[in-house]
């Protein structure tokens, strides 16, 4: 079978979004690797330009195009592939594939779907079909019945029994949903729910049950294995993507484990999976009763986690199975000698912890529950749960030092425990302090006692350390306690904080003292290998972690001697978060490749299970461990590297540069001192002043009257950045005194420790960036790009054009001159990025990072010149020739657009501001600006509005009204109906453009803008925020939120809106060129 198939199309997952993140770069890359190994010609459609899978050499042909049926069909038309794989690009690829299948495209072009058949996928996606199928094999699913009256609801409850969940059908965001424990509650809630929807669902409540998952693999011979099972620390009710997850399960008896395993295999056989599948269960906490909650007939976030947790390359194997191999015909790529038909045995525990960024959004609810809000995750490995969870809490990077030793302010701990948010773990720690027992906590949270006991062990250790300090025990007598604390995952910092009471020593120095002391005593971590077989077979894997629960290193001394000073450590980027995501994974992987090419041993430290950089075959040694000063030093002690690269992993490694250098670690490339100058606002400003480089005026202020004085001096608007806020976004631009007062009120404290940074804000200024690489202060290559939006939209949210199309030559000259000055002054050797404001040929520097920036993969792929490759050569000391290509000669355009996940973030205001809100990005190439823009926008969920429907315009203040005038005329001429709010309607009428006037949300008059959104009469919403009065703010918010909740594309920036409208007026989507990367 596999011989007839020569050309295979693989669909990626597009931009990273909440619920669909970097894991699909990892699974797609592995699948392409497997296909390549089999000599297949591969074609990839994925507009996510920052991914590793869209890099040279991974697929044979890459299309940076939207993953929509329309575009994929045109790629099929052009490429005529023999087969297509739908399981490696998440829900995006699956949905697209199902649509193409249903419309007969695959049949028409003779494209075979390999892997799990589409019918099987459809059966798992449809609730009813799936429940029927499960019933046919006697597998239990949760009862759920649709009813249309209260009497019917009561009837259903007679069979299901209380408690039940009521869900209103066809509503968004869980309106009218909730739990009921008795008839009264049911009647009340059902009545309410019926006001939202004519039909409601009555479901049995499994709240408080355990949530367990299995990852199952099946081949065409019906052979099945479960690669891994996982147990959620958080009970059912909290989405698995929001839960702390451990692998393997910890609280299941052998009988429970294998009962669920057997059922999972039965399901997978019935569904007919070829490849990989995830089965999720609810398991009763007090019996062996269970329900199947969900089946994912594709690679998923959980399968990426299972791959990293076990070392079993799930996606790689799934791709081979798709080609028709049996599991017994594939080797275990970790041991190279045993079979892929086996189930990994773990001799460690892993702990996955989600990372949220809810603080970046205004209005969003912080409760965690049945829908996913987290933007990334970490995985921690240890040989005790305590060790793993403490590592994990540090890895999440939200200021925690582990389970204890934190300063987290939770006003009402009991409330927090009952209504969990992203702070529930620190809340448990505080609860122990307050005297809550494990049993009490279990009753409140339903978290299994075993996990709570283990957390309590950490708490008890903390008390022990405090008692030592209390008793003024000399440090020299603390050996046993420190040893024990280390086994429970305590960092040097945590230990130092508890046992060194001297207030004159900084916490950082206390940690270093502990480190020194324990090293003298030989209390050091050992390196252990992840080998899939728990040590039963010798493995060639280089996949490592560090633990204190062990006495012997798995690394042989001989190999270390050999590698001494011949290895280079690359620090990874940690958890994906808003502002740091797959683009830094690409940078890290590019650096590793170059290090290997140069004949050195490439070592990666990272802990993000969604990445390619943690795939053990992209480097010579992977340490899946913390990116803390302590852990990086531990690894340097073991590896004795030539040096460490801190400039390809975003901000986390960048922040470690100076700390590592202080401890004698060699930082490769730009010096730690220079990095510090760029990072330190004051030092950087002084340097700019010295060099005569302009910056917007700013001050760090600690008193209210100083703030008002400074605002008077520079004039409004200004940007306010408090160091501590009560709620919502920290950074904001204020344009009048009221807003200023409001922003300062929100800044809970303004004091010496919590200063506020106030910066002059330039209106209608262009934002321009330079990405460059320098050697010894001399620029060797650079790329200048511009934003479509004016400054005021965070550079991570802006639409970026490269090469810049609309800059004055004079501006470009100045940019180059300034970049040269800075590179020279800071003696840069490596990657850097500078952001500028350009207005009337005046240039101001707003930011400078002496590391790779978010746009490095973008400019590298558009120029087809690997900036990181060159940067790495430089950091390793190789003399490089300047890259001579003149970017003005590039006769195509690349445009990068941002992906927002507001639909997932209930109640958040979908507005763009100075703080970043996007969760991902794409970039597409076009022969000109508008073609590139249209492809790019279509890739992040926009579509060309349906002419049968209208377009809503609410165009804000006068200037943006003018800005949108031409666009409105184009729409009007194209025959679109324009709905407009009163001001916009009047304005457009004056220019001869007719509109249908709609009334503001708070108006009683009809037609109301919310009605036409709810009725889907419109297919695009342009709402330009105008925040002058409270009323306008609230009305604007309601319109934007309604658009997001009804899945109608929304643009809130006038320049972007007018560019988009022009683009789709000029090009129907059928005029867009289907060209692969190499064709440009």
């Amino acid at each position: 079978m596999s011989d007839e198939i020569k050309k295979i199309l693989v669909l990626g997952s597009g931009a990273l979004k909440i619920g669909e993140s970097g894991e699909f770069d990892y699974s797609g890359s592995q699948a392409l690797k497997a296909l390549h190994e089999e000599g297949k010609f591969t074609i990839l459609v994925n507009p996510n330009i920052a991914t590793v899978q869209t890099s040279e050499g991974v697929a044979d042909r890459i299309y940076y195009l939207p993953i929509t049926p329309e575009f994929v069909e045109r790629v099929i038309q052009k490429e005529k592939p023999d087969a297509i794989m739908l399981s490696f690009g998440g829900q995006t690829a699956l949905n697209c594939g199902v649509k193409l299948y249903e419309s007969g495209v695959f049949e028409r072009y003779g494209v075979k779907v390999i892997g799990t058949p589409v019918d099987a996928i459809i059966n798992t996606e449809d609730r009813e079909l799936f429940a029927d199928m499960m019933r046919s094999i006697n597998v239990k699913t949760a009862h759920s019945v649709a009813v249309s009256s209260i009497d019917e609801a009561m009837e259903v409850v007679r069979t299901i029994g209380y408690p039940v969940i009521v869900r209103a059908a066809y509503t968004l965001g869980g309106l009218g949903s909730g739990f009921c424990n008795n008839d009264d509650e049911l009647r009340k809630l059902a009545e309410q729910a019926f006001t939202f929807s004519p039909q409601i669902l009555i479901e049995e409540s499994l709240k408080g049950w355990k949530e367990i998952e299995y990852e199952v693999v099946r081949d065409q011979y019906d052979n099945c294995i479960t690669v891994c099972n996982m147990e959620n620390f958080d009970p059912l009710g909290i989405h698995t993507g929001e839960s702390v997850v451990v692998a393997p399960s910890q609280t299941l008896s052998d009988h429970e484990y294998h009962k669920l395993r057997e059922i999972a295999i039965k399901i997978v056989r019935r569904v007919g999976i070829i490849g990989e599948c995830n089965v999720q269960y609810a398991l009763a906490p007090d019996s062996e009763d269970y329900r199947v909650i969900e089946v994912n007939a594709r690679l998923s976030r959980s399968s990426a986690l299972a791959s990293k947790a076990t070392g079993y390359p799930l996606a790689f194997v799934a791709a081979k199975l798709g080609l028709g191999y049996g599991l017994d015909e594939i080797k275990n790529s970790v041991t190279q000698c045993t079979s892929a038909f086996f189930e990994p045995a773990l001799d460690y525990v892993v702990c996955k912890i989600p990372r949220w960024d809810l603080g970046k959004f205004d209005g969003v609810s912080k409760l965690i529950g049945s829908s996913m809000k987290s933007v990334g995750e970490v995985m921690a490995i240890g040989r005790t749960f305590e060790e793993a969870i403490q590592k994990g809490l540090r890895m999440v990077g939200q200021g925690l030092h582990g389970f204890v030793a934190n300063t987290v302010n939770i006003p009402d701990v009991d409330y927090e425990l009952r209504n969990p948010t992203d702070k529930r773990l620190p809340a448990i720690a505080i609860a122990f302090d307050m005297g809550y027992t494990v049993d009490q906590l279990h009753d409140i949270t339903k978290i299994d006692r075993w996990f709570l006991y283990r957390l309590h062990n950490i708490y008890r250790m903390k008390c022990e350390l405090e008692a030592i300090a209390e008793a003024r025990t000399p440090l020299a007598d603390c050996r046993e306690a420190i040893d024990k604390a280390k086994r429970l995952g305590f960092s040097d910092y945590q230990i130092g904080k508890f046992i060194i009471k001297d207030a004159s020593v900084s916490p950082h120095d206390k940690g270093l003292q502990i480190r020194q002391l324990r090293k003298q005593w030989g209390i050091v971590p050992v390196v252990k290998q992840i080998d899939t077989t728990a040590g039963e077979y010798p493995a060639r894997t280089n996949y490592m972690y560090l633990t204190y629960n062990g006495s012997k290193n798995d690394l042989s001394i001989a190999s270390q001697e050999l590698s001494k000073h011949e290895s280079v450590i690359v620090l990874g980027s940690g958890a994906y978060r808003i502002g740091s995501s797959v683009e830094f994974d690409w940078c890290g992987v590019a650096a590793l490749k170059k290090i290997q090419e140069m004949g050195l041993k490439a070592i990666m430290i990272n802990y993000n299970p969604e990445t390619v950089s943690t795939d053990y075959d992209v480097c010579d040694q992977l340490f899946f461990d913390e990116l803390t000063l302590e852990r990086v030093l531990d690894i340097c002690d073991i590896e004795q590297p030539k040096g460490v690269i801190v400039s390809t992993g975003g901000q986390i490694p960048n922040n470690l540069a100076l700390l590592l250098a202080d401890q004698g670690v060699r930082i490769l490339g730009t010096s730690a001192e220079s990095i510090d100058i760029a990072e330190d606002r004051q030092k950087f400003s002084q340097m700019c002043d010295r060099l005569g480089i302009d910056q917007p005026r700013w001050k760090e202020l600690t008193k209210m009257d100083e703030i008002y004085d400074f605002v008077d001096e520079v004039g409004l608007p200004v940007m306010i950045r408090p160091s501590y806020v009560l709620s919502g976004a920290a950074m904001r631009v204020v344009s009048n005194k009221e807003e200023l007062a409001d922003a300062l009120q929100n800044a809970a404290v303004v004091s010496q420790e919590h200063p506020v940074v106030v910066t002059e804000f330039l209106q209608r200024a262009k934002e321009v960036e330079i990405d460059a690489v320098a050697q010894n202060g001399e620029i060797k290559c650079y790329a200048i790009s511009e934003h479509i939006e004016y400054a005021g939209v965070h550079s991570g949210d802006a639409t970026v054009v490269f090469p810049a199309q609309k800059l004055y030559y004079e501006t470009i000259r100045r940019i180059k001159r300034t970049a040269k000055q800075i590179a020279k002054e800071l003696n840069i050797s490596g990657p850097f990025n500078i952001q500028f404001l350009a207005k009337d040929n005046k240039l101001r520097v707003i930011e400078c990072n002496l590391r790779a920036s978010r746009s490095f993969p973008f400019v590298s792929k558009i120029t087809k010149f690997n900036f990181i490759g060159m940067a790495t050569e430089i950091m390793l000391g190789k003399e490089v020739e300047p890259f001579g290509k003149n970017f003005a000669d590039i006769d195509y355009v690349g445009i990068k657009s941002s992906q927002f996940s507001f639909a997932r973030l209930l109640k958040a205001d979908p507005i763009l501001g100075v703080d970043m809100a996007s969760t991902g990005e794409v970039a597409c190439i076009g022969d000109n600006y508008y073609e590139a823009l249209l492809k790019s926008m279509l890739s992040v969920g926009f579509h060309i509005p349906d002419k049968q429907k209208g377009i809503l315009m609410s165009s804000g203040e006068a200037r943006s009204k003018v800005e949108l005038l031409e666009a409105a005329r184009l729409l009007h001429d194209d025959g679109y109906t324009i709905y407009a709010t009163s001001g916009t309607s009047k304005f457009l009428a004056q220019s001869g453009i007719e509109t249908e006037e709609v009334h503001w949300p708070d108006s009683a008059e009809k037609p109301n803008v919310l009605d036409i959104i709810r009725d889907h009469k419109i297919d695009l919403v342009v709402n330009i925020p105008k925040n002058h009065t409270e009323r306008e703010l609230q009305n604007g918010y309601l319109i934007r939120r309604a658009a997001v909740d009804h899945n109608i594309p929304l643009i809130t920036n006038a320049r972007l809106a007018s560019a988009f409208i022009r683009a789709f007026s000029e090009y129907g989507s059928d005029k867009l060129e289907i060209k692969h990367w190499a064709e440009y």
Binding site: D219, S249, T251, S253, R449, Y453, Y537
Partner: protein, 366 residues
């Protein structure tokens, strides 16, 4: 829900290996010095089952999974057939237990005591805080090894359990009958795991359990079952002799683990000791000549040498990792056996259907 917290002062003690290496651990079981053969197993669940598995007789068990004791230990109750509900025999069979990290507090709705309390009840020593991965690697590289745990300087001699007749130590001493179904199964108990009994009793059978050396020649039965058991199969001379008679007859025979080896020896083949055996829940086997694969539960240190199988016997399953024998069958007669454990407990239940095959054979012959 029952839980417990134990707060005793931990006692440090030593594990000594025959190659001279020494590990220090913390005691959480019964305190007495013991000697035995160290062996590791890679299963991540199922310590109550493994500890009571008679095949582990004489051995010092080293689970590779680091945290043990999480879900406590279930009760001693018996089912309607008089078989223990949760355990594989009536006592802890291994000599001692060595782990990385002990879960002092346990949590499970179906448990009624801690692992530590249970070990103490059965007077079995146990150590934690030992680098079990390092220990496993040593056993993997150097092969199975003798070892001892020393308490309070009360030294004991190293002792190789394979030189003893372990089967005689764990086999039933008297004949006992279970169930009252229509087919009569004669079970040779060489150290039978209770779940074999539970699995058979789901069918319409009656099981007559007899000691390992019981002379069943001339007994009336519909099918013969040779159980699992500990140690070197060559020690079971009487069983082999009786089986030689049985394979000359036509009544169905099924064997598991030691039963597989005994059947092979009776047929005239040879067995040998593996370097460190197969012990875990993840062992892949393949039915010879097909693509049909199974994940199996295993626990054995000896194996059949395929090359020595006589002409009318052939390999039934093969180990996908190292190519060793995983089962045999007769070319024409209804005899088959597996090196792995279809009864699982602990472990995966993928091969449970083999019991059905045995019962089918009995029904066909009727």
């Amino acid at each position: 829900m029952k839980t417990a917290i134990e707060n005793e002062k931990p006692k440090k003690t030593l594990l000594k290996l025959e190659d001279g290496s020494v590990f220090e651990g913390t005691s959480f079981g019964y305190e007495k010095s013991v000697a035995g053969e160290l062996c590791f197993y890679t299963a991540m669940t199922g310590y109550p089952e493994s500890l009571t598995d008679p095949s582990y007789r004489g051995q010092i068990l080293v689970p590779t999974y680091p945290m043990i004791g999480n879900y406590g230990v279930p009760s001693d109750e018996y089912d309607a057939n008089g078989v223990s509900r949760f355990f594989e025999s009536d006592k802890i069979q291994c000599q001692a237990l060595i782990i990385q990290n002990y879960s002092e507090q346990y949590s499970h709705w179906d448990s009624d005591r801690s692992l530590s309390a249970w070990l103490k009840q059965h007077k079995v020593p146990a150590l934690c805080d030992i680098d079990t991965r390092a220990l496993t690697q040593k056993l993997r590289d150097k092969g199975a090894m003798l070892g001892k745990i020393i308490f309070d300087d009360a030294d004991v001699e190293m002792s190789d359990p394979n030189k003893r007749n372990l089967v005689a130590e764990v086999s039933a001493t008297e004949v006992r009958t279970y169930g009252n179904g229509s087919k009569k199964v004669l079970m040779i108990d060489c150290g039978m795991k209770n779940n074999i009994l539970r699995c058979l009793l789901r069918f319409d059978v009656q099981v007559k359990r007899v000691p390992w050396d019981y002379d069943f020649r001339g007994e009336e039965y519909d099918g013969l079952f040779v159980s699992n058991g500990p140690g070197d199969p060559a020690q079971c001379k009487a069983t082999i002799e009786h089986l030689s008679w049985a394979i000359a007859q036509d009544k169905p025979i099924m064997g598991i683990c030691l039963g597989n080896q005994l059947l092979a020896l009776a047929a005239g083949a040879k067995t040998y000791k593996l370097k460190y055996g197969h012990r875990g829940h993840n062992v892949p086997v393949k039915e010879v000549g097909t693509h049909h694969c199974l994940i199996t539960s295993q626990n054995h240190g000896f194996a059949i040498d395929d090359a020595t199988l006589p002409a009318d016997w052939r390999p039934l399953y093969v180990n996908l990792n190292d190519g060793t024998n995983e089962g045999i069958q007769h070319a024409t007669k209804p005899f088959f056996s597996t090196q792995f454990h279809p009864e699982a407990s602990s472990g995966p239940v993928d091969s449970m259907e083999l019991f059905q095959r045995f019962v089918n054979y009995m029904n066909v012959k009727a």
